[in-house]
């Protein structure tokens, strides 16, 4: 007897509570939708876990949750974002990402067609990044108990021998590099928010950065002290975090910080500062002054780093301030964000 009597009606159907109940409907959803989208040998085994070989050396592990609203935005959706975000957390250690897990919390009534699109772009993003989604979970909750769909992930990667990127490595005189324009992701999301929709050509920068990181490491080697991806809280939060952890301060040059005119205009209109707006395919790197030029050149050679720039340097400062010379000619602090600027941005 065939296990599944009727195929999933992807076009018109939607998720109901039976798809999370552990019964036949759930198994059908997993094999008919997720396995197809993620397609790999581990999932095909159908175990509750996946086994893989471990090489010698250090590994990194990360976990992340995705609650972005809206689920679909210019330049991606919650699925591709989940893969990129997890891969990037691994990549910031200089590590090569290997395997991901993905857990789906779905509100009943969520359309199969949307779920298929999201799963497909997860699969696509994973294949493009050379990682595999090897284990997962599906839960369905009653209407009103979750907003459409939440995804949570974990990721594992391996660190090249001898590499140890950490805020503790930063020294006075180190240079601050960023890989491109700031605020694209946040503005792309905002432009599609209910009540706020505005016309813009800005698309999310959501992208996997590990390949880009590898080319930076090849150029800068041990001169690269650490890297971070400035997601929520933007570059401001990232640099304040690094300042606290390294015991240093930073002096930035506003004029050197790349921001797309469309992003600047949207921020102007909404009363936001691009330094605080989220990015999903950018990184900030603290590098030794002697390798800064070489690393910057390597960044600019890569498609993800065409707008890379050196924007400031680490300075001695007992207060760990991030200070900035404004393009107008004055000075100011770039402080932590207080409160919430944009909820559910990733």
């Amino acid at each position: 007897m065939k296990a599944h009597q009727r195929k999933l009606d992807i076009r018109n159907g939607c998720v109901d509570l039976s798809h999370g109940s552990g019964g036949r409907a759930m198994s059908q959803l997993i094999s008919g939708l997720f396995h197809e989208a993620f397609g790999n040998e581990w999932l095909a085994c159908g175990n509750d876990q996946s086994a893989f070989d471990v090489g010698a050396g250090r590994m990194v592990m990360t976990t992340d949750g995705y609650v972005v609203s809206p689920l679909f935005f210019p330049g991606g959706n919650i699925g591709s974002l989940a893969v990129h975000g997890t891969v990037n957390d691994i990549a910031m250690a200089g590590a090569r990402p290997l395997y991901l897990s993905a857990s789906f919390i779905i509100e009943e009534g969520f359309r199969f067609s949307d779920l298929r699109m999201i799963a497909d772009s997860m699969g696509e993003a994973a294949r493009a990044a050379g990682v595999y989604i090897i284990t997962g979970d599906t839960k369905v909750v009653e209407r009103g108990k979750a907003d459409s769909l939440f995804i949570s992930t974990a990721g594992i990667g391996v660190v090249p021998a001898g590499l140890d990127l950490s805020a503790g490595n930063a020294r006075v005189g180190d240079r601050v590099l960023i890989s491109g324009t700031l605020g694209d992701h946040g503005v792309a999301i905002m432009s599609k928010r209910q009540n706020l929709a505005f016309e813009t050509e800005i698309v999310s920068d959501s992208a996997s950065l590990h390949d880009f990181v590898a080319s930076m490491l090849a150029a800068g080697g041990k001169g690269i002290r650490l890297m971070r991806d400035p997601t929520r809280g933007g570059l401001a939060a990232t640099l304040n975090e690094i300042a606290q952890q390294s015991g240093l301060g930073f002096q930035l040059q506003e004029a050197a910080i790349p921001v797309k005119p469309g992003v600047a205009a949207a921020c102007e209109l909404l009363g936001l500062d691009p330094l605080y707006v989220a990015n999903e395919g950018k990184l900030a790197a603290i590098v030794a002054p002697e390798v800064a030029a070489a690393v910057l050149a390597a960044m600019r050679m890569h498609p993800l780093g065409r707008d890379a720039a050196e924007i400031g340097e680490a300075v001695a400062d007992d207060h760990h301030f991030v200070q900035m010379a404004t393009s107008f000619g004055g000075g100011r602090i770039v402080d932590w964000l207080s409160g919430e600027q944009l909820p559910r941005i990733c």
Binding site: N195, T326, G329, G330, S338
Partner: protein, 380 residues
């Protein structure tokens, strides 16, 4: 960004800074208050203080509507939002404004109150149309700039015959507050207010025009220069104020002539005076009760007045006695002179009005300028 970058040009700024330095008499001190939070923000955001000579000092005024909203009015709004039949629509920056005992609309929302962020009064109308079974109250705040949109909202509710729309009115007026800064009874306690001139509001003046400041300038003998919110507007306005002081003039001058006229926006003024009337007094956080400084809906619009409709009781909450906002707002003290500044009062947990939004004097100094305190300490 076209039409914005032109007003942020470094070269022109350097020229204006040079002119201010050469025209300001080194023997004299020039203390100017920028009334508006928008100006405070521009000063901090662009670091204008670094471009002014030491004897030209900017004092950050009370012109941030979120900051001056008293805790009692927030408590009233929270009580209202806790009613199951009410949806409270608010501008987002009200979410974190502290009421009494650490309460806020954000916390009320987390506990189940239906508080929704809107970007315009039209959004609130939309909510009312979508959910006819519940009462939609718009928490109206702001100076003369945001009052006309509230008037439009009431007109729309009338036209669409929406029975579930009302307004919790907290609109305040600029000229009475400017006057209060110079002549309030509190001054006896906090010491003489030394302000040599005012940078007048930008957006407010597009509505009310420059005329309402004429009495003020004449009566108090202080120059007023209406200025736009761009950093070059500010620099030019400061130069104009320096010149007036040097020439012993106290006139109303209009730097923001690209947007402001003497009469203002007649249509908007008409709508506002049709619907609103003066309150005898209104409480300002940091300034206390200021006579004739707030608006309420006229009797004829009672059915749109949430205070009438829901029989809201006026709540008063005393400011923290250690809080120096009153003196800081009048330029008698600086943020660092307040014991609470940066200790128990921070942007994350504001106690006084000046710390509530980034346009407040203390929050602006904390967020953008506190590195200067350390520089000064090092230098001395």
């Amino acid at each position: 960004m076209k039409y914005a970058d032109e007003f942020r040009d470094k070269e022109i700024a350097v020229g204006l800074a040079k002119a201010i330095r050469s025209e300001a008499d080194p023997e004299k001190s020039y203390r100017f208050m920028e009334f508006c939070g928008g100006h405070t923000h521009a000063i901090s955001r662009y670091g204008l203080e670094d471009m002014l000579p030491k004897n030209v000092r900017m004092i950050h005024g009370p012109g941030c509507p979120v900051c001056v909203l008293p805790a009692g009015r927030i408590d009233m709004a929270i009580r209202l939002a806790e009613r199951p039949d009410v949806i409270l629509c608010i501008y987002g920056d009200l979410m974190r404004v502290p009421g009494s005992q650490g309460a806020s609309l954000l916390k009320a929302k987390a506990r189940g109150a239906d508080v929704r962020m809107v970007y315009s009064t039209i959004d609130a109308i939309r909510v009312a149309e979508e959910i006819p079974g519940r009462a939609v109250v718009f928490f109206a705040i702001g100076f003369e700039t945001t009052t006309p949109p509230t008037a439009v909202m009431i007109r729309l509710a009338e036209k669409k015959q929406l029975k579930n729309v009302s307004v919790f009115c907290n609109h305040v007026l600029t000229p009475p507050a400017m006057q209060n800064i110079l002549e309030s009874a509190d001054i006896r306690n906090i010491g003489p207010v030394e302000i040599d001139g005012f940078v007048g509001p930008a957006h407010v003046s597009t509505i009310i025009g420059t005329e309402p400041y004429e009495f003020f300038a004449e009566e108090f003998g202080r120059p007023v220069v209406i200025a736009g919110f761009e950093p070059l507007d500010m620099m030019q306005a400061i130069l104009m104020l320096v010149r007036q002081v040097n020439e012993h003039r106290y006139e109303v001058e209009n730097q923001y002539s690209r947007a402001v006229t003497r009469d203002g926006n007649l249509r908007a003024k008409e709508e506002v005076s049709d619907i609103f009337e003066l309150r005898d007094q209104f409480e300002w956080r940091g300034l206390g009760l200021v006579p004739y400084s707030g608006l309420k809906l006229k009797r004829a619009y009672d059915k749109y007045d949430a205070e009438v409709r829901f029989d809201m009781n006026e709540l008063r909450v005393a400011d923290n006695p250690a809080c120096e906002c009153g003196a800081i707002l009048r330029g008698v003290k600086k943020p660092v002179d307040c014991k609470l500044f940066g200790t128990v009062c921070t942007p994350e947990a504001p106690m006084g009005s000046c710390m509530v939004s980034s346009e407040g004097a203390c929050a602006a100094h904390w967020t953008y300028g506190r590195f200067r305190d350390h520089q000064q300490r090092r230098a001395s």
